[in-house]
């Protein structure tokens, strides 16, 4: 058990209603209610359905998290909430609830950046999964990078100082990786969410069966280390998605069965290859010697394997938080806020707005 501020964090940027309680670097509760099942028949997250579910789940999740942590609202030192980036209507529910709690308790409220919170979760003790380095036990390492991959985001960050200096090195220009998984799963007739379904099918397939495009890897986008192109560390998955659809249609046109497992494996290989290649390139060129892998797609076996392999080959230390801390949750919001509070930073003005495209340079609003 560590000392430090007792913080409650609320997360509602996508389809998980999360409430976490943290004391300093110790996790006391991480309660999540997901509306994922309600999105299955649509093959993707429907913002209005997610927002309705957040409203229903908010107080029960809050109550459960406080019970688990064994703390009362009046014990808290601060309240924190994701104010962006994310789905605007979904963010609004968490922000309204958090502001109300701040008014009712008189506690300071911190509006927190969701993406940076995915990195902040790494400061919790025992946050790591087996086989990989865990928390940043001796404080944050210098030269920290983060690779965030989920249904909502695909980003490479440079984290100079967790609470005040975070830069976006690269991001997807179109679909998030997880979204591409969902869309390709649909084309292949696999279940939603696409990540686990494709991962499972790919295990029985040949990743070299189809040569699928790696987006934004051409010279004109990449440039060179000295003269970087416009999208050296950026991603694009729309071309890959279209290429998969063409492969499937070609089989269908011939009346042949689609080799689902080979297509899934080839697709997964293309995603993991381009993501890890660019992340490792960014690390080596930007002097990042530790890489944190976060977001729900961190659960993908091939992405983890290839990230580990390529990080090892380049002398980069890999940190992968536990899956329950990788997917969207309130504990990560609380963990980052605890750090912000400990550094004596001012709380947010109660009048702040949600910002669906909050830049990573704004760690707390």
């Amino acid at each position: 058990m560590t000392d430090g501020p007792l913080v409650l964090g609320i997360e509602s940027s996508c389809d998980e209603t999360g409430v976490g309680v943290v004391r300093g670097r110790t996790l006391l509760a991480n309660t999540v209610s997901s509306s994922m099942d309600e999105h299955v028949r649509f093959g993707g997250v429907i913002p209005e359905i997610a927002s309705r579910a957040h409203l229903d789940a908010m107080v029960p999740t809050l109550r459960a998290a406080l019970d688990t942590a064994g703390v009362a609202l009046e014990d808290l030192d601060a309240i924190a909430v994701t104010s962006g980036p994310g789905l605007s209507g979904a963010l609004m529910v968490g922000v309204a609830a958090a502001k109300a709690l701040a008014v009712a308790t008189g506690k300071p409220l911190y509006a927190i950046n969701h993406l940076v919170a995915h990195v902040g979760v790494g400061v919790l003790e025992d946050s790591g999964i087996e086989g990989f380095q865990g928390a940043f036990d001796d404080g944050l390492p210098r030269g920290l990078g983060a690779l965030l991959v989920s249904g909502g985001h695909t980003e490479i960050l440079a984290v100079e100082d967790l609470t005040r200096d975070v830069r976006l090195l690269g991001a997807t220009l179109d679909d998030a990786a997880g979204e591409a998984y969902d869309k390709v799963a649909r084309v292949l007739g696999l279940d939603y969410p696409g990540g686990p379904a494709i991962d499972a099918a790919a295990r029985r397939g040949d990743p070299t069966a189809f040569r699928l495009p790696r987006g934004l890897t051409a010279g004109k986008y990449m440039g060179s280390a000295e003269k970087p192109g416009p999208h050296r560390y950026d991603f694009s998955f729309s071309g890959l998605k279209t290429a998969v659809a063409r492969v499937v249609e070609a089989y269908e046109a011939e009346g042949e069965p689609v080799p689902v497992e080979d297509v899934a494996a080839s697709f997964q290989e293309a995603v993991a290859d381009v993501i890890t290649r660019k992340a490792v390139l960014a690390c080596t060129e930007q002097g990042l010697t530790t890489l944190l892998l976060g977001g729900g797609v961190a659960a993908n076996s091939r992405l983890r394997e290839l990230t580990a392999e390529r990080c090892a080959a380049h002398g980069i230390e890999l940190v992968v938080p536990k899956l329950s801390l990788c997917t969207d949750n309130g504990a990560m919001v609380a963990a980052l806020a605890a750090r912000v509070v400990a550094e004596g930073r001012a709380p947010s003005d109660l009048g702040f707005a949600v910002d669906p495209s909050l830049p990573v340079t704004t760690v707390s609003v």
Partner: protein, 224 residues
């Protein structure tokens, strides 16, 4: 004393006593900043009068109908406040607030039945039908969502009637801008209590429309 909130149109908050006195109220000038303004408004309402949650007997929130995102901001605020202060939580249909405001004018004009309409966007209105009894308006129809032209030919009060005055038989011009407010909602609740009707603990939002989600059809061909 009730802390009343409504965010079905504008964002509003008010302190209303059991005797029907409005001790303080706030209403935002626009319909798009609910999650920003509501909590600071509640804090100011209480602080200005030296009150805390302990001075309240309950929280009342308008359950709509209204545009979804704004509506949720008020309900989320009310639920979280009631949880944190451990206070009874009540919900009341938001159009009751406009009916409360319109009752005097309706009585003076001899209207024994009338409609309340608010803006539902997408060329539709949210509506409810009220009968004017001795002890105030009582809901007798709705709430619903419809094109203004499809509604019965009754006197129509509220911003929805102002927006679609040309499609309504009897729009009431003096109420063309009227929106639900927390203070009027609170007064409507007090009036209900006075005639022995218990307040509902239900704060389920009256969305009245499904989410826009569509189950995807057959996929489009990539090479078409």
């Amino acid at each position: 004393m009730l802390l009343c909130l409504d965010s079905s149109a504008v964002a509003s908050a008010a302190l209303v006593t059991g005797g029907g006195e409005v001790l303080g109220s706030f209403a935002s000038p626009d319909t798009r900043s609910h999650a920003e303004v509501l909590a600071p408004a509640v804090r100011a309402l209480l602080a200005d009068r030296g009150l805390t949650g302990a001075d309240l007997g309950g929280i009342l929130v308008g359950t709509g109908p209204g545009p979804f995102t704004g509506l949720r901001a008020g309900i989320a605020t009310a639920r979280a406040l009631a949880f944190a202060w451990d206070l009874p939580l009540h919900g009341l249909m938001s159009l009751e607030a406009v009916a409360q405001d319109a009752a005097g004018a309706a009585r003076a004009a001899g209207h024994d039945e009338f409609l309340v309409l608010t803006d539902a966007r997408r060329k539709e209105v949210y509506w409810a039908r009220f009968a004017l009894a001795e002890d105030g308006p009582r809901p007798v129809g709705g709430p619903g969502v419809a094109a203004a032209g499809q509604l019965p030919e009754l006197p129509a009060y509220g911003r929805g009637a102002g927006l679609y005055a040309d499609r309504l038989a009897r729009p009431v011009a003096e109420f063309a801008e009227a929106q639900p407010t927390a203070s009027s909602l609170g007064l409507a609740a007090v009036r209900r209590a006075a005639r022995g009707e218990a307040l509902s603990p239900d704060t389920t939002p009256l969305y009245l429309r499904e989410s826009d989600a569509k189950v995807p059809g057959p996929r489009k061909r990539a090479s078409a």
